[in-house]
Symmetry: C2
Subunit: 442 residues, 2 copies
């Protein structure tokens, strides 16, 4: 037996693609989705001509952050690059808590470093996986599940499916601005994807209408489908408690109440008041707790019982795994938040979820809102069956880029004029010229 | 460009070696080290005929735990085995806190699962690293340091260097049962290994003698060498506070007070009383906090400011990385504990430390107490220079087995009669027939 040898591996090129994709006019407390959502796709090519990919938040600022690291990335060994860049995710101290209350995900300057790191980490892992012929989930500890459950993510929605001119997509779901419309939307999603749980984006209509929406969903789907509502901090403590009471039964069966109110102290107050009434519906958050620095205070206050992580801005897959261990240690649940994304991000979410034992709720995904016409994954959209994404028997993330589709996405980016996400501006442009995001609104 | 392909990889054999090595008569509050220390070495061979290795605690019970997993190990893909076995480390819930106060490390039945998992994880990572030609530290996130600092680990010690008959080793350090003897021992270790910090094993002589020992060390080495003392829970709260006061200056300069007293509540009481006197010397522990389940209470009480982890019983390298992230999040320091070990364990400790950004103190090592004659690493002992272990430019852990030496270790195991560690029995046999471990003793 000869001694095993070192193998050199080097990143020879970094390619960054800013793309735009059609996005339907979805509503949230942040405002309105623009006709185009922006994503950034990165490619790392190695000296073996193997390509690792990842997808993250879009816009010019994200590209600048990645470009600033070019000299550290090109020439690096992908196994070591994540260690070299680790100060980007390890730098956060106790003073670096960063709320996302007033900023849409992807536009928070306080997580620019962790977001950028994550995009590089995932591309490195994909590159390594494709080089050694192993799926990413098995590089980071080994899968604990092959099927990753996702939940339906219904929104109140105006007519239309986003994109403009030749980019306009078929409006598969139609308008849904009432409880009835929402129930139809959910049924359609379940028929197509087989979702077994529902996360409903609230904070848009009067709380009583949203309560009615959840009740109708519950009646239609039966008690076995867990229901969640996420008004993105649109409510006061009083309203949050009132909704929590009104929906104690509907949300209490494996569901949760997500970010009803802004701020850890207010979340804790809602929790206390609900518990005092015997209502144990857990509170989830991807707004009050968005970094490790937020956790000690959250634990101390019992403000958040379920952390909704996102490898895109928590600093990548390994940071999510650390977070999961931490959450389990403190008896906190863990699930995954999403934003408008394509198949590369979906597969990254699925891989990290597959290798994270402590994942206590089905993950969110916006994926059904995107069109196959905009998908950049070779072979077309990633299937969601029985509400699950299957980890395929393919190396890396299990997907590769369709370069024609990437080129179309780049062209849309060049032409669409959007360079960052601003849901408030869209709301003023399309719905109400005087609209402002007011927190709490109700 | 063709699509990247999956590569199959399979473990074809598990080999388990129980070995015994000479161990000098070191003293601690647990009693006396036996003339032989026991270790278990495992080999995982792949279908490519590559061999991954690891080293863990010894004795027949450890072998039985590994043997019980044979059918799951042989035939498995080493990238996936860690996921398949993850319930062994993920199973711990809040009810599974496990103190090591009354048990020597390696003999605690409550960490049998995490200990066994760790041995398999490390061997899988070594196997993967040797297969793909990358060092282990770069498989688990990428190194953040090439040089891993270790501290000297002086003990009160009787004459002799362990082993019996042909196994007896040269007594390099001689007897040290007084402050003077201890200082000489430390100077000798520093000369040989260049250690930049000192962890002194106390809990053996009267506290005043141990205080005097630290003071002499401080005078001899100067204020720039951080000093720690670890009496393994031998003291009362009062004595702990008294020692903490007496050594405020000596331990306060980058050192710590380790497990002065048993139990989280008592540790917290010592901390409170010291802080009340303006003494900020942190308390470290590898006894009161030995699993994730111990942490919430420790954080709540501010009982332990530095967790001394050990990948061998915390559940492996990735669990240590999770722990480090958690510790950083809560403002807790992190370093590494050790027990009698050879070069395979030393390299595993060095690799995980290299890939763990939040490592705030030099790690412990018993390595200088072992003899080159017992080393199982091909080419001889791992060098410690300037107090550091260097991560070599070699795949996996960077070491391979010397099979002749392993065979000698197995023979010693067969002949020595020891099958578990029992420092109390040794103390009765060699020092005082009526000796009992009494906590607190002073």
């Amino acid at each position: 037996m000869s001694s095993p040898r070192m193998r050199r591996m080097r990143i020879t090129d970094l390619r960054i693609h800013s793309i735009a994709i059609a996005d339907p006019p979805l509503r949230s407390s942040y405002g309105l989705h623009a006709p185009y959502a922006l994503r950034t796709v990165i490619e790392l090519e190695s000296d073996d001509k193997i390509i690792g990919i990842s997808e993250t938040y879009g816009g010019d600022a994200q590209v600048r952050q990645l470009e600033a690291l070019r000299s550290q990335i090109v020439g690096a060994n992908p196994y070591r690059l994540t260690g070299i860049l680790s100060p980007m995710v390890e730098g956060q101290g106790a003073g670096d808590a960063r709320s996302q209350t007033y900023l849409v995900p992807g536009e928070n300057p306080l997580d620019a470093a962790t977001r950028t790191y994550a995009a590089i980490e995932v591309a490195c892992l994909d590159l390594i996986g494709k080089t050694v012929g192993q799926p990413v989930c098995d590089l980071i500890g080994g899968r604990v599940r092959d099927e990753v459950p996702f939940s339906a993510y219904p929104f109140y929605k105006h007519a239309g499916s986003g994109g403009e001119g030749v980019d306009a997509r078929e409006d598969e779901y139609g308008e849904a601005l009432s409880p009835e419309g929402l129930v139809l939307q959910v049924q359609q999603m379940i028929t197509e994807y087989g979702f077994g749980s529902i996360k409903f984006k609230g904070g848009v209509l009067e709380p009583d209408i949203e309560i009615e929406t959840i009740r109708r969903l519950c009646r239609k789907l039966g008690p076995k489908v867990p229901l969640r509502i996420d008004p993105n901090s649109a409510w006061t403590v009083e309203t949050s408690v009132r909704v929590g009471q009104a929906l104690a039964e509907e949300l209490g069966r494996g569901g949760y109440l997500e970010d009803p109110v802004a701020g850890l102290e207010n979340m804790a107050e809602v929790r206390r008041r609900l518990l005092a009434q015997g209502i144990t519906t857990p509170l989830a958050s991807n707004v009050a707790v968005t970094s490790f620095a937020d956790i000690p205070r959250s634990v101390q206050l019992d403000a958040v019982q379920i952390i909704l992580c996102d490898h895109h801005y928590w600093g990548g897959m390994r940071q999510v795994q650390h977070l999961a261990r931490l959450a389990k240690t403190f008896g906190t649940g863990l699930s995954m938040h999403s934003n408008t994304h394509l198949g590369v991000s979906l597969m990254a979410m699925a891989h990290v979820a597959a290798a994270t034992p402590h994942l206590t709720y089905a993950c969110d995904t916006h994926y059904p809102w995107q069109s196959a016409k905009d998908e950049i994954v070779l072979g077309g959209r990633v299937p969601i069956r029985n509400g699950c994404v299957h980890i395929p028997d393919r190396p890396g993330l299990g997907v590769e880029l369709d370069y024609d589709q990437v080129a179309r996405g780049r062209e849309r980016y060049a032409n669409c004029g959007y360079r960052k996400r601003d849901d408030e501006a869209e709301m003023r442009k399309h719905v109400d010229p005087n609209w402002k995001r007011v927190l709490p609104r109700w």
